[in-house]
């Protein structure tokens, strides 16, 4: 699995401040909501923000272990459960991996563009309340509580490799 160097929308960016900004934003939301933003939870979020790519639970656990923050799978999974439950982090089901939310300030229904070559993931927004699916659901009597859209394909960086024309 080749690594990717620019997974945010597949474009480079300077993230000197984006990690600290995002952490501060999440911290504020936890305080406002009466949630405990504990050291492990905070560190897991930081790791995901620093990487800006989807990481498996065991990759995260390895990092935590190196830092003496926990060595057993439940430590990582519990932190990830908390973070995903509150939409600070999203799970990419297609990859069994986790990625920090790119829009942590708003309630949203995320859509992911997942590169099948380099596994880079970009997060976009969808609008679930309009569109065909919402109509079908309401006609059926199904209540949608949360939804994710995962699109697989080729990112701009990998298209040249796969279509060398």
């Amino acid at each position: 699995m080749p690594l990717n160097s620019d997974p945010i929308g597949f474009a480079h960016h300077d993230h000197a401040t984006c990690v600290t900004d995002a952490v501060a934003s999440v911290e504020a939301r936890c305080i406002a909501a009466g949630l405990q933003f504990t050291p492990v939870r905070k560190r897991v979020l930081e790791i995901l923000l620093e990487e800006h790519r989807a990481l498996g639970a065991y990759e995260i656990l390895d990092r935590l272990r190196d830092e003496g923050l926990g060595s057993q799978p439940p430590v990582a999974y519990r932190a990830l459960d908390f973070l995903t439950k509150h939409d600070f982090v999203h799970k990419i089901e297609r990859l069994n991996a986790f990625i920090a939310c790119a829009h942590p300030h708003e309630v949203h229904t995320p859509a992911f563009l997942i590169c099948r070559d380099c596994n880079a993931v970009a997060e976009a927004e969808t609008n679930l309340t309009q569109g065909r699916l919402a109509k079908i659901a309401s006609a059926t009597g199904f209540i949608i509580e949360r939804a994710i859209l995962e699109a697989e394909g080729l990112c701009p960086n990998c298209i040249p490799k796969s279509e060398p024309a």
Copy 2:
């Protein structure tokens, strides 16, 4: 995990003929495309059609084993790989489970309504070529090859249980 008795769009139906019809349709498409619709592949599809719900790979394997069609995980996974690759079966990533395609006659981008209470799954259709995501992808330069939308919520049968009002 409670079972569900009516997972197709959450409504009962008589499926006396739907299994054989669907199998015949897939068989015809395999012949047309030069694909080998082998006994194991056919039986896996039948099992999924008979159940009309999402089954885990190991549930399917248990059935195959009972019938003497294979006893090791790769047997089930290979058949499922074939069936999902050609869209005769879809994987529900949220559940790590597989379900027979409800619209095997058309090329499509499936959307699933997954009940969090009874795990029933309904398959709807989306239109990927229009809508916000397609615009974002083309603006980004990402080529979408396949996409899945998984919505989680409450099906009509489980709403009364969860909202006893």
